[in-house]
Symmetry: C2
Subunit: 144 residues, 2 copies
């Protein structure tokens, strides 16, 4: 039987993360000591390693919970797994594109600001640098 710390070492997971997973019911202790300490088997370590793999593939903890619950009922989670990854690929692509746009905005701003002095705020302006950025006026809300 392993303690939380030993389980953490065994599964290459920070102990406080193991405790978090316990809290949300993603894993359960196999037994409990009289003093309240939680105890685990090597099977729990394997489960935890599975969780890490799934996270590495972009699954959320909720999805992982669903998957392991399915598996415990003997149902194959594979179909859901494929769908989730397909969905996440789209989602992630959109997020990446958004972040690259942000990156461009920030880089352009910094370059533009190189030629501008610092300013002292007055009633009309909070920070003229930010306010000077292209697209400050006339946002194009053509999407959605």
């Amino acid at each position: 039987m392993l303690t939380v710390n030993e389980l953490a070492l065994e599964s290459d997971t920070p102990a406080h993360v193991v405790r978090y997973y316990l809290r949300i019911g993603l894993i359960q202790p196999a037994a409990q000591q009289e003093n309240g300490y939680r105890l685990f088997t090597s099977n729990d370590a394997a489960r935890l390693r599975f969780i890490r793999m799934a996270k590495h593939l972009g699954f959320t903890l909720n999805e992982i919970k669903q998957i392991t619950q399915h598996a415990e009922l003997g149902e194959s989670p594979c179909d859901d797994v494929r769908k989730i990854v397909q969905h996440r690929i789209h989602e992630n692509r959109a997020k990446i594109e958004e972040m690259m746009k942000l990156q461009e905005r920030m880089e352009q701003a910094l370059e533009q600001w190189d030629l501008m002095p610092d300013g002292i705020p007055d009633g009309n302006s909070v920070c003229h640098l930010i306010e000077s950025v292209e697209g400050s006026e006339g946002h194009c809300h053509t999407e959605t």
Copy 2:
């Protein structure tokens, strides 16, 4: 004097977001009606538009709060503003790279799974698709 809803329309911000900003003290009502309704001036609308610009440039609400507080004291926030954007550019670049790696992992997995049938879970395996992914064993933790 504008109500929350009017301020929201004036500044092109969802009303529930305006209420959130009020809650965290990012903006303050200029006055209050007897019934508790909060009232604002057109200056508040300008402030809110500034907040949207800053968010568009990647500033967090906390950072924006600092900036506006600096500005209210008559101190120039420009120096901090430049530093924050520089920092965020690095941060964002790292995040984008990480997400692109995830993207590649997911795409590779999906391709690999095309040749694999669904499986029924047993005691040893939760989902053989996830467990089959390259790099499941022998993680290379060479960084930090």
